[in-house]
């Protein structure tokens, strides 16, 4: 199998060995290993050092980690000083993380999920959630391939390539669309629940407003799961006592 293809496959599970010590470092080193194969033949000493460097501390967005894998590998082949490669790797963590978080976690994911929720409310069956997965799978494959190739092409100049990358321009549109779609999906999902009309509907709105008020207070560490469990247990107890 071609080294680039093996590295691509490994990048799909880069988070598997995520830990509090090196974060995604082991996964990134494992993804770089096949790419450094030729270096192992020509310069075994440098190859060992390169893999060690690649497996050091690293944290970014999993979809875009290929940029770092490719850039580091290319820099190793170009004979760039090891310290400079380590600095490159450290410098890539934040921009790649921020780009991926905004574009995918806070952009495309909510858009696709919100659209699937709305489709289900309007009568779509199993195909809507399955289509959401299919879309994200295609995006994951395309972005991972793009990231790895961009890194391999650019090497130490990867910062310039990222500055000029077209995907950066998609962030504002993705964020706005996500906000709109989630805004529309929430009342539709709540309203689609049987019986949540009239009195129970008012209760749902009151609970939502209380949760929003609590969640927006900076002094309170709000989690939706914690809030949900708390109000449900309280409501169930009230229903037992009163009912």
């Amino acid at each position: 199998m071609r080294p680039e293809l093996r590295s691509f496959g490994r990048l799909l599970t880069i988070q598997a060995s995520w830990n509090y010590e090196r974060m995604s470092g082991i996964g990134l080193g494992y993804a770089c290993e096949p790419l450094l194969g030729d270096l192992a033949a020509s310069d075994p000493a440098r190859s060992g050092e390169a893999v060690l460097r690649a497996a050091g501390f690293f944290n970014s967005h999993p979809y875009l980690a290929g940029v770092a894998a490719g850039a580091e590998t290319r820099a190793e082949y170009d004979g760039v000083d090891g310290k400079q490669i380590e600095r490159l790797r450290a410098a890539l963590c934040s921009p790649l993380g921020a780009l991926g978080d905004q574009l995918f976690w806070a952009g495309l994911w909510p858009v696709v999920l919100g659209a699937a929720l709305i489709a289900v409310v309007f009568g779509a069956e199993w195909w809507a959630p399955v289509a959401a997965v299919a879309i994200m799978l295609l995006v994951r494959v395309w972005v991972t391939r793009w990231a790895l190739r961009t890194g391999l092409r650019s090497g130490i100049q990867v910062g310039v390539a990222l500055q000029n990358a077209r995907i950066r321009a998609w962030i504002p549109a993705a964020g706005l669309t996500a906000a709109f779609v989630i805004g529309a999906a929430v009342p539709l999902v709540v309203g689609a629940e049987d019986g949540v009309r009239g009195g129970p509907g008012v209760l749902a709105v009151v609970v939502a407003l209380v949760g929003l008020a609590v969640g927006q207070r900076k002094s309170v560490r709000f989690t939706g799961v914690g809030f949900g469990l708390t109000v449900l247990v309280a409501a169930a107890l009230v229903s037992l006592v009163v009912g």
């Binding site: 010590e21 999993p62 669309t177 999902v189 169930a236």
Partner: protein
């Protein structure tokens, strides 16, 4: 529940757990997807879609950013769907409560997994320093197997609790409608808090408000 259905639920929950922690992170861990697939396995797609949609509201709050702590909703959703498939959607709140409880346990299990991975990496530091051939692959796949066991265990617990809730819950009461409304209201609060946090400023908040208004109007008039 037939052995094939049980196996199907176990596979759906395990794949959901793996998708969140190990990858490829393509929405298989989301309650809407895990719930739909669990519903298909049980031959009760309605239960899957209803529970999946309700729990998705809670999951929308959280971004799975690497170092942050977040719940694992996927395997728990499987148990919640199983419970609601037995008791019916009029007691959706019980399924939601079970799903949220299991998501919390899932979150704890993720922290255990990451600590266990760190211990394994620290234990292999000498081998890493000497660059023993194949050491990165060993560490990586050992972590993957750990996540596999975590996901299987969490899904098995979810199925056991889902079965128990499905068989031991009280018969339907008039209060159930109010409890369902409470669950949906809490889910709306979670989703909107997450959306507001992501929106952050100006135009995105306006887009969120516009979407919210459009959704409310559709509920009122559609």
């Amino acid at each position: 529940m037939s052995p094939f259905q049980l196996l199907g639920l176990l596979v759906v929950g395990t794949v959901a757990g793996l998708d969140l922690a190990s990858g490829p992170q393509v929405l298989l861990a989301r309650p809407l997807v895990a719930g739909t697939l669990a519903g298909l396995c049980l031959g009760d797609l309605t239960a899957g879609l209803v529970v999946g949609s309700a729990l998705e509201l809670f999951a929308l709050e959280v971004l799975p950013v690497g170092a942050s702590r977040y719940p694992d909703h996927g395997p728990g959703t499987v148990g919640a769907v199983l419970a609601v498939a037995y008791i019916g959607p009029h007691q959706l709140w019980l399924g939601v409560m079970l799903g949220l409880f299991l998501a919390t346990i899932g979150g704890w299990s993720l922290r255990w997994l990451r600590r266990a991975n760190a211990v394994a990496v620290a234990g292999a530091s000498a081998a890493l320093q000497a660059f023993v051939p194949g050491i990165l692959g060993q560490l990586h796949w050992a972590a993957f197997r750990r996540d596999l066991l975590r996901s299987i265990g969490l899904t098995a617990l979810a199925i056991a609790l889902g079965w128990a809730v499905g068989h031991l819950s009280a018969p339907p009461r008039t209060w159930d409608t109010w409890l369902n409304a409470t669950a949906m209201g809490a889910g709306a609060a979670a989703a909107l808090n997450g959306a507001l946090r992501n929106a952050g400023h100006g135009r995105r908040v306006a887009a969120l408000g516009t979407g919210l208004l459009a959704g409310v109007l559709l509920v009122a008039f559609a």
